[in-house]
Amino acid sequence: MISELIINAFLVTIMLAIGIALLKTRTVIFTVVLTSAYSLIAALMFITLDAVDVAFTEASVGAGISTILFLAAMAYLPKEEEENLNSQILPAISCMVLGGILIWCSYDLPEIGLLSSPIHQHIVPDYILGSRDDIGIPNIVTSVLASYRGYDTFGETIVVFTAGVAVLVLLKNNTNVSKQKNKKSNGKIG
């Protein structure tokens, strides 16, 4: 119990430090790297919650591939962020109020892993027993993701596919336009 508390406090402190560093930095590449580090700490956080599959996804997608895609897209951004000179008091107050409400609400949450909490009562026992008896797979996450909630995962796959195709279409059109522009050497498209 104590060791868990120490690990959690350590991770939260690092997360807080990264958050403050993100606020301070104005260089885009540091922002990308710090966001990646934040994802990595979040992955460790998920491991302390015993959500290994989520941690794996966070580490590979959040810390890995999205950093690469950000870096690839960064070449088209200015290197420095613009300084924001507007007053920051109102956003700060709204953040603090929202954070306070969330912390206040968290006292009503059931303890993590408590067997009698509602989320472990409704449909979860069926999934746990069914994963053993009906599906025969040790990893319950996979049986929920691919079998019990197969329809949702199908939707997710189609969302990834649609998003990818949409980005490809957007970027492809632009290259064609700039090619045409080079040929005709007129117009102000894009």
């Binding site: 591939i65 996979t142 197969g150």
Partner: protein
């Protein structure tokens, strides 16, 4: 990405990329097909396999990366992943069950579930990895109006 052009001249990067390329894909396949027994699955495996190809493209340049993994195959596999997933659903309808009910796919309900989950995860992995590679190629190969 003009800073990345000369990366293949660095022997450390070049050789370590060549050494790491196959193990990364092997690990991706392990995560893909071992997802029933341990953490992992199609989404994670797709990203890991994509990262191997992206690493190759970063070090050796986009053109070499496209030689290794041609864009038309990439786009074909990108679409076929979703089709495999939907095809499993259609197959279970044809065999007389509801959409994505894997029980009828095998000789027993349990083996049907195993086959269905394996195929579905494979479809997810195929789509995710190819979307990631295609996005990276699109971002790096993108020519904005400014630099012609």
């Amino acid at each position: 990405m003009e800073r990345l052009v000369n990366m293949h001249k660095n022997p450390i990067l070049r050789i370590s990329t060549k050494i790491l390329f196959a193990p990364i894909i092997l690990f991706g396949l392990y995560v893909q097909f071992h997802g029933d027994f341990g953490p992992g699955g199609g989404f994670q495996a797709g990203v890991i396999v994509a990262s191997a190809f992206i690493l190759y493209s970063i070090v050796f340049g986009l053109d070499e990366g496209k030689k290794l993994f041609p864009p038309n195959i990439n786009l074909f596999l990108l679409a076929s992943g979703g089709l495999i997933y939907g095809g499993v659903g259609i197959a279970s309808i044809i065999l007389g069950e509801e959409f994505l009910s894997y029980n009828v796919l095998g000789s027993s309900p349990q083996s049907g579930q195993h086959i269905g989950i394996l195929l579905v995860e494979f479809g997810v992995g195929l789509t995710v990895s190819n979307v990631m590679i295609a996005l990276f190629n699109a971002f790096v190969g993108f020519k904005s109006g400014k630099d012609k």
